[in-house]
């Protein structure tokens, strides 16, 4: 079955051709981004005569991508940390105290996964605006934490339930407190699922546009997607500058993908198979 036959070769060639077709958008993204204005306007599709790298500095400065990069890091980092810290201790309590209470709580989280968040969006916005949380890091981090917490608790609970109790029991017998036992013994054992939660929620939050547009547009706390959106609004159809901004905004994820592609795919699918 595993022999490499003539038919396998045909399959391989066909898929390589399809993969090349799949990459076409990236080809245009790169060649247009390095063209000067005149060339980008007159012959956008030709191979660039020379590298015009100043588009990148223009985009970097005019779209204030440096600031947005920091914003994206703060927002994604803050939300993921909250999802991991709050989600893991909650799941640990649910998994280690079986009974009617934990069943009810577990059901509360599972049901919330199915419940689409769109309906709560508008009232949440109004309440958070009244509390001054619109346009702030804290507000958007709270929002993402609330929206993705059911996933985090669900994934952690499943993992803790499959975890043997011996280590933590030994630690408790040695006189360590519950919190110390969790921090020193349990949490390190949760590493695989922590990775899944971090990658899955981290990617979604990093790339989210809808919520950050609503909560942060027009402030100085806009993450990368909103910054690119505003930049396009200001530089409509100057494709070379737009594409330079797009490339810069995609770069962090691209590098992450190149370095940790396998983990990333596994973590992402791990988060989905719920």
């Amino acid at each position: 079955m595993r022999r490499y036959t003539g038919w396998t070769l045909v399959r391989e060639v066909l898929l390589i051709l399809l993969a090349i077709a799949w990459m076409i958008p990236f080809y245009f993204l790169v060649i247009v981004a390095v063209k000067p204005d005149a060339e980008a306007l007159q012959s956008p599709l030709s191979f660039p005569d020379s590298l015009h790298l100043s588009n990148f500095s223009t985009a970097w400065n005019d779209a204030s991508l440096d600031r947005s990069l920091v914003n994206s890091l703060i927002i994604t980092g803050g939300s993921v940390l909250a999802l991991i810290a709050i989600g893991s201790i909650c799941a640990y309590a649910i998994a280690r105290r079986p009974g009617r209470m934990s069943t009810t709580l577990y059901f509360l989280f599972v049901l919330a996964i199915i419940l689409p968040f769109q309906l709560g969006l508008v009232p949440t916005y109004a309440v958070m605006r009244d509390f001054g949380l619109v346009g702030s890091y804290l507000g958007i981090i709270l929002l993402y934490t609330g929206i993705w917490m059911p996933f985090s608790v669900f994934l952690y609970t499943g993992f803790v339930l499959a975890l043997p109790k011996e280590y933590e029991e030994a630690s408790r017998v040695d006189g360590a407190s519950a919190l110390r036992t969790f921090r020193r013994v349990v949490f390190p054992l949760l590493r695989p699922v922590t990775g899944t939660v971090a990658i899955f929620t981290g990617l979604i939050i990093w790339n989210d546009f809808f919520l950050s547009l609503i909560y942060l547009n027009g402030t100085d706390k806009t993450p990368l997607p909103v910054a690119v959106y505003s930049f396009v609004g200001a530089f409509a159809s100057r494709w070379n500058l737009i594409f330079a901004a797009v490339i810069v905004s995609l770069l962090p994820i691209m590098i992450f993908f190149l370095v940790a592609q396998r983990h990333l795919i596994r973590g992402f699918t791990g988060g989905i198979k719920t």
């Binding site: 898929l15 917490m149 790339n207």
Partner: protein, 302 residues
């Protein structure tokens, strides 16, 4: 401490019963607030004319929903969302499954190809959508290609054409989602024991028959996950619309999510916006849950 209490305490420790319930509070609080209370409030506001600023909202019964089904823009958004999601779910899953079947086993470039197809999944939908807007623009690559091959008659401003604008978004959606669908099917295929396939091959079953009788039934769980997830994703489409067409020309590619955004935050009609959200929520829940039931029942039959 009395000596009698000590063994009892140790037993409690051993059963792990001393994890304090307080630990669940932060997670329960955010989920109650941002999921349950918010959804409850949204359901109520959907039946009001709330402007989002005043403290009071007047109950208007089903007025908002009458408007949704009568106003061409809102009704159009509903129809577009359904058309787009339907075509997208089928196409993305067929291509995703096809690529997964092609990549499964023996290919030398398997890892590289998998990475290439998956790359669009991890990228900002908004950012990559601009590349597609360029590809579909009047002087862009697609029309240039049509020129070169002598099909000038087909040239058009794709994103500005009332008939085609919606389908440019469809292309972006499929391009971005296929990689995710592919890895879900690949994971499913990896779970199929090789012996099973070989045994039926030895028995003389044709490739197609093997696919239908062995592979497809065992892929049922992967199909359930991929179809349900793409349905949820397709119905909620927002980023791609805003970047590629902006909902235009003249509402020709508006979807429910873009209408929610515009009605609420551009026109300040918070009540009407939540009514649209309620329609979208019901649509997602009903379709996703009924799909889950149907596909899970099918899994068991197989």
């Amino acid at each position: 401490m009395s000596e009698r209490a000590a063994p009892a305490r140790r037993r409690r420790r051993r059963s792990g019963g001393t994890v304090p319930w307080v630990w669940v509070l932060p997670a329960v609080a955010v989920v109650l607030a941002f999921r349950y209370v918010a959804t409850g409030a949204g359901t109520w506001y959907a039946f009001t004319d709330w402007d989002g600023i005043s403290r009071h909202a007047t109950w208007v019964g089903l007025d908002n929903f009458h408007e949704i089904f009568e106003d061409p823009a809102a009704r159009g958004a509903l129809v577009h969302t359904l058309e787009l999601a339907f075509a997208f779910v089928i196409t993305a899953n067929v291509i995703g499954l096809g690529i997964a079947l092609g990549l499964h086993r023996t290919l030398k470039t398997r890892g590289l190809l998998r990475a290439i197809f998956f790359l669009p999944v991890v990228m900002s939908s908004l950012a990559v959508s601009y590349v597609w807007q360029f590809i579909f623009s009047y002087t862009g690559p697609l029309n240039t290609l049509l020129d070169t091959v002598g099909l000038e008659s087909l040239k058009r401003p794709w994103t500005g054409d009332p008939t085609w604008a919606l389908w440019t978004i469809f292309v972006v959606l499929v391009w971005q989602f296929v990689g995710l669908s592919m890895v879900m099917y690949l994971a499913g295929l990896e779970g199929i024991p090789e012996e099973l396939d070989e045994a039926s091959a030895v028995d003389g079953a044709s490739t197609f028959r093997r696919f239908r009788k062995v592979t497809l039934p065992l892929l049922a769980p992967a199909i359930t996950v991929s179809v349900t997830l793409s349905t949820i994703y397709g119905l909620g489409v927002f980023d791609q619309v805003l970047a590629v067409t902006g909902g235009g020309p003249v509402d020709a590619s508006e979807t429910l999510a873009t209408q929610i955004y515009k009605q609420t935050f551009a026109f300040g009609r918070f009540g009407y916006g939540t009514a649209l959200s309620l329609v979208l929520t019901v649509l997602i829940t009903v379709l996703a849950v009924s799909q889950l039931f149907v596909l899970r029942a099918r899994e068991r039959r197989m």
